[in-house]
């Protein structure tokens, strides 16, 4: 086992994998690595062992700014009353077909 101090000094990276060409990269997890290049190698070994990807992005975890989970209702609940943003809000007669 390595010492806790050494572990803490290894930066954390978030890993994003594109599962199929043309799709967005999706967050799959994170890992510790000495630098970005090393993180890519490790991410390949950890997250694409069963051909889960065609491309990998790694981003230093401390470069990510996240929304506050405690503000979830403030942030997202107001959209619940804006149902008119969805196409299904509008009745389209059958004769018109797909719109």
């Amino acid at each position: 086992m390595s010492t806790p101090l050494a572990e803490a000094a290894t930066p954390l990276f978030e890993v994003f994998v594109r599962s199929k060409q043309g799709l967005d990269h999706k967050h799959v997890g994170s890992l510790h690595a000495s630098d970005a290049r090393h993180a890519l190698t490790l991410a390949r070994d950890v997250y694409t062992r069963r051909q889960e990807g065609v491309s990998i992005w790694v981003v230093p975890s401390n470069a990510i700014t996240a929304s506050d989970p405690a503000l979830k209702s403030d942030n997202f609940d107001p959209m619940a009353s804006k149902v008119y943003r969805h196409p299904t809000f509008y009745d389209i007669p059958d004769e018109i077909g797909h719109m």
């Binding site: 060409q21 804006k82 008119y84 943003r85 809000f89 509008y90 018109i96």
Partner: protein
């Protein structure tokens, strides 16, 4: 920027064979339906074409906010006002998705916005027509957004990954736009004779400009073939226009509206509706800057940009202040 790899290849081996083989490999990738991503090598002309097309598309989204934005305060009910507000907000979002996609090709947002403001960049000719009545908001949603969807759905399969993904997002949101427009037109058509007349007047004014949105005839669009080879264009202008007419004629009939073209008739032999001749002089006039609202639209964009300068400056000043404060806190710790 992202085409650097290609430049390197040419420099490393100055024979044209290298270039030809690169072009060949590139076209083969596209023929296999592979997506081209920002870090991939790509022909300079492919990059340029995409920057032009995606930025024109982005400009169209934000200039498109102008003819509709003017009606937000004049919407006939709170419900319609909320819907229109949401729609115009969406258009701003679509502009953002597309500017971001263009930026992956190594151009700056500032240079694209400059090109719009100086009149160098084009945007969809349709937004250079005035919105004279509330019915126009319905007709824009039904016809203009309907035509845009026709044009945009094939772009979801475009060879350039960031553009294709932006288009998927946009198309999902676009369906609401068309349906809310149809809903407005339908309400007017089922309303008083005066309301119905308002809808008819609006169709009369917007029908031809909408057909022009698909661009020149295939025989007059020399870039189509190249754009098709590159997987940027999947369906030709004329085919898309025909598809739009075929879908829209029955809808107009359902609404009891007359399309302002006496040549419209079902052609059983072709399996399509025939329609009349487009006034291409008008199209080119509007594209080249001499439409009813070209000057007004660009002036409004420039004013909006200038009026927003203090917000951008205040934002930057605030960010600098926070950064300084954080640095001081770190220093004391």
């Amino acid at each position: 920027m992202y085409t650097q790899a290609l430049d390197t290849a040419i420099n490393a081996n100055t024979t044209t064979v290298t270039v030809d083989s690169f072009q060949k490999t590139f076209l083969e990738r596209i023929a296999r339906d592979e997506k081209i991503e920002p870090q991939d090598a790509m022909p300079e002309a492919y990059r340029k074409t995409l920057v032009r097309q995606i930025s024109q598309h982005a400009h169209s989204e934000i200039v498109g906010m102008l003819p509709e934005g003017g009606w937000i305060t004049r919407a006939p009910s709170l419900k319609r006002k909320e819907i229109l507000l949401a729609k115009v907000q969406d258009e701003g979002g679509h502009g953002l998705y597309l500017y971001s996609a263009a930026e992956t090709l190594g151009v700056t947002r500032e240079s694209l916005v400059d090109a719009l403001h100086s009149g160098k960049a084009k945007y969809s000719s349709i937004f250079n027509y005035p919105t004279e009545s509330w019915a126009d908001i319905g007709i824009i949603g039904w016809l203009v957004d309907g035509a845009a969807i026709m044009n945009q759905v094939p772009l979801c399969r475009c060879s350039y990954g960031p553009y294709a993904r932006a288009m998927i997002r946009i198309c999902k949101e676009e369906s609401f736009h068309q349906r809310q427009g149809f809903d407005i037109v339908r309400s007017l058509c089922e309303g008083t004779p005066a309301q119905k007349a308002l809808a008819q007047d609006s169709v009369n004014r917007w029908w031809w400009p909408t057909l022009m949105m698909f661009g020149p005839h295939d025989s007059d669009s020399p870039n189509t073939e190249q754009a098709t080879d590159w997987g940027i264009k999947r369906i030709s202008n004329d085919d898309l226009r025909q598809k739009f007419v075929d879908v829209t004629v029955p809808q107009a009939k359902f609404l009891g509206l007359t399309l302002p073209d006496t040549a419209i008739a079902w052609n059983a032999e072709r399996g399509h509706y025939d329609f009349g001749k487009i006034d291409w002089d008008e199209f080119w006039r509007v594209v080249k800057g001499d439409g009813p609202c070209n000057a007004e639209r660009v002036a409004d964009r420039v004013t909006a940009f200038d009026d927003g300068r203090w917000v951008r400056e205040a934002d930057a000043a605030h960010a600098a202040k926070v950064a300084l404060r954080n640095a001081q806190v770190t220093a004391t710790v």
